[in-house]
């Protein structure tokens, strides 16, 4: 058997796990590991400019591929800088393995240089964490880390490695385990057949059913099955922010996103439904609005891989724990075999009602003739120029909601955003993580002048590794979502939401060797954007001036029912 040092085992284990890229930043505690990286060429290391970006790159890789991404950061500040990225992945159930350096084991607890208790600091935002106590455990710990990150409800796993576990001169027999067996970790592998049968009976008897699906469809690779089930039942489908792309966005049965900034029709459908089939979604507060008024006439069927998500906020009438795809497959078989199909007359009336709701709002917005562009127009143009086929990696704020509302995602894993934690600064590194792994795809970072500045140093990483993403910066010179809330709830007192002293983004991009474009007029937008995407080998930063007074609508009235919404600055349901 081959003898390897702890440092070599770390990299070899990653190789044996099929990892091609790791994103990271070196430091004292990791010097042995970085030396091992230098002496091989199978696992490529990408040097970021800030550890947070490394975690977002690994996270976005996972969102786009379904496989765990890997970040490597040193002890102390390296580890704490990674915490925001770990929390981002945790909130959205994204598989990720974060390897953190640690001071030598005999120094732990002595407040050594660059020491921090990473296991402690990260504990509330990881699925699990390991602290390496013996170098020979490294292969099995890394195997377990990937297994835990990628199975059940996915999530980030931290592996903390004290420096003396990686000493180059101490060698151990290396063998990467083929299987993992853990007595305390056995995710549910199939749904309860009796519950599935009950759910299908309820759906077939429903008069106003709806499917509400979330990120579980995306990570659970269940979009094909979801589409088949929805069509066989002829029911409307709404997606959460995390679930966009899980059902074709241009399909007639799709009623849009639901929740705080959901479509009018999606929220009306939810409010009036008699049966709600929730799959891979967790009844988040941004979805339910006031829980006491949520879906007053509906029976709730809740399918989720995580038993703790069921009946956490909204009590499920029929809970089903298990993987979405297998459960939906079983549902499809039962629908096919049913003696009587869905009530055709009820369906006709339900769809008639839904079409009326669609006609009332339908995502309309006013345009400023001859004035500043509306952000919605930019997203619609992005959708047009990229044929609705781009990876859209979003930052956080108004632009994120506009992208979710106006870019029509027909495929899963194309919409990459920080939904749960709402991490500004996510967009650019996320786009980089996707582009490095899908070099031929269109990859757009939809951002604002606020968010982009939270990780703008990564323009340097893009230069070093030739990562030609397209940055679509909706520049409204203000923290738009904060400003919107201040308009609506604080009599327009814009406390700290105005962005003074913005850089010249065009020159900034150029200083990193990229292309910068400034667009002020809608008339120039299509030409400029087409040109930007035609430059397939260049990063293009599009600084697009948009109306700073625009709000995101619909917007639910706080603590109201699903149907209680503002539809514009003056119109309420």
């Amino acid at each position: 058997m081959e003898l390897l040092s702890g440092a070599e085992m770390v990299i070899r284990a990653l190789r044996d796990e099929g990892v091609q890229h790791i994103y990271g930043y070196p430091g004292g505690a990791l010097l042995h590991v970085y030396d091992a990286i230098f002496q091989q060429d199978e696992v490529q290391h990408v040097l970021v400019r800030h550890e947070q970006a490394a975690t977002h790159m690994a996270d976005a890789y996972a969102r786009a591929t379904g496989k765990a991404g890997v970040a490597l950061v040193t002890s102390g500040p390296g580890a704490t800088n990674a915490v925001t990225g770990i929390a981002t992945a945790y909130m959205d159930s994204i598989p990720m393995v974060v390897i953190t350096g640690q001071v030598m084991s005999f120094l732990i607890g002595e407040d050594a240089f660059q020491e921090t208790d990473m296991i402690g600091i990260s504990r509330p935002v990881v699925k699990h964490s390991f602290s390496v106590q013996r170098p020979e455990d490294i292969p099995s710990i890394i195997k377990k880390a990937f297994h835990i990150a990628q199975t059940g409800r996915p999530g980030p796993v931290v592996v903390d490695i004290p420096k003396d576990m990686t000493t180059p001169t101490e060698r151990y027999e290396y063998e990467y385990p083929k299987n993992v067996k853990m007595r305390s970790y056995n995710p549910v592998s199939r749904g309860h057949s009796g519950q599935i049968k009950k759910a299908v009976d309820l759906l077939l008897g429903a008069k106003r059913p709806v499917i509400y699906s979330g990120g579980g469809i995306i990570m659970g690779d269940a979009h094909v099955e979801l589409t088949e089930l929805a069509r066989s039942l002829n029911v409307p489908v709404t997606n959460t922010l995390m679930g966009l792309g899980g059902y074709p966005g241009t399909d007639r049965q799709f009623v849009g996103m639901l929740g705080m900034h959901g479509s009018y029709e999606a929220n009306m459908v939810m409010h009036h439904a008699d049966v709600v089939l929730a799959i891979g979604a967790r009844f988040d507060d941004r979805v339910t609005n006031g829980v006491d008024k949520f879906c007053p006439t509906a029976k709730i069927i809740h399918v989720d891989i995580d038993p703790a998500s069921i009946s956490k906020t909204i009590t499920a009438d029929i809970p089903i724990v298990g993987p979405a795809r297998d459960i939906i497959k079983e549902m499809i078989q039962l629908v096919k075999g049913a003696k009587t199909g869905p009530d055709a007359e009820a369906a006709k009336q339900w769809w008639q009602q839904i079409d009326e709701w669609r006609a009332r709002h339908g995502g309309r917005f006013d345009i400023n003739e001859g004035g500043l562009m509306k952000p919605q127009q930019v997203i619609e143009m992005l959708s047009k120029v990229t044929n609705g086929d781009a990876y859209v990696c979003s930052d956080v704020g108004q632009h994120q909601m506009f992208a979710a509302q106006y870019y029509k995602f027909n495929q899963p894993k194309r919409w990459i955003n920080s939904g749960g934690l709402g991490t500004m600064g996510f967009g650019l590194p996320a786009a980089m993580g996707v582009k490095m792994n899908f070099p031929d795809a269109h990859v757009a970072c939809v951002t604002g002048e606020g968010s982009i500045q939270m990780n703008i140093q990564e323009l340097s990483t893009c230069q070093q590794y030739d990562i030609p993403v397209k940055i679509i910066c909706l520049n409204n010179q203000s923290l738009g979502m904060v400003r919107q809330w201040q308009d609506m709830n604080y009599e327009s007192r814009h406390s700290q939401s105005y962005m003074k002293s913005l850089p010249d983004f065009v020159k900034l991009a150029e200083s990193y060797g990229h292309v910068g474009m400034k667009v002020d007029k809608y008339a120039d937008l299509e030409g400029a954007m087409t040109e930007a995407f035609a430059m397939t080998d260049r990063l293009v930063f599009m600084d697009i001036a948009v109306d700073p007074f625009e709000h995101v609508y619909p917007m639910q009235v706080p603590r109201g029912a699903m149907r209680d919404m503002w539809l514009s600055k003056t119109e309420r349901t």
Partner: protein, 164 residues
């Protein structure tokens, strides 16, 4: 309602902090917590008593089960069970009347005087938390110097066993 939750967890460094952290992170209440290794050196047994509605306790057991280090979770209060807590209580006992009174009360509760000085008695008492509370109340005439309680340990009645 008060629940007694028994947890078998891996006897690994950090496992306890994951459980305790979960309670504070999720805003769950802990009344008492005890933990020690079992006959199987790889396993620890923890008993947590908590106050909460059925919905909250259901979340607690589900969230505990999600922790990778947790092997098994049982809500003992769902079935017949036995709970015991140990208390050591130090009392001022500097007159013969006080000494008599404390001894008599301890006898009634089947407590034992386990240490004595000319001025103090230390009494040991084992029982349910209610019994321990009652003993403290019964001694309200005497002056308490110090109270140490172990927290609740619990086990199911009959042949039900919480093991691997």
């Amino acid at each position: 309602m008060r629940h007694i939750i028994s947890v078998l967890l891996e006897n690994e460094p950090g496992a306890l902090s994951r459980v305790v952290g979960l309670f504070s992170q999720r805003n769950f209440n802990i009344e008492t917590l005890t933990v020690a290794a079992t006959d199987d050196g790889t396993l620890s047994r923890m008993t947590v008593t908590t106050l909460g509605s059925d919905k909250v306790v259901e979340q607690i057991t589900k969230q505990l089960n999600k922790l990778i280090d947790v092997v098994k979770v049982v809500d003992l209060t769902e079935g017949e069970h036995i709970e015991r807590e140990l208390m050591m209580i130090k009392l001022k006992a500097n007159s013969s009347a006080a000494r008599e009174e404390i001894k008599r009360t301890a006898d009634i509760f089947r407590g034992q005087v386990i240490d004595a000085t000319p001025n103090t008695f230390t009494v040991q008492l084992v029982g349910s938390s209610d019994k321990l509370d009652a003993f403290i109340n019964a001694l309200s005439g005497a002056s308490l110097l110090e109270v140490v309680r172990s927290g609740v340990s619990g086990i199911a009645r009959g042949e039900k066993v919480l093991s691997l």
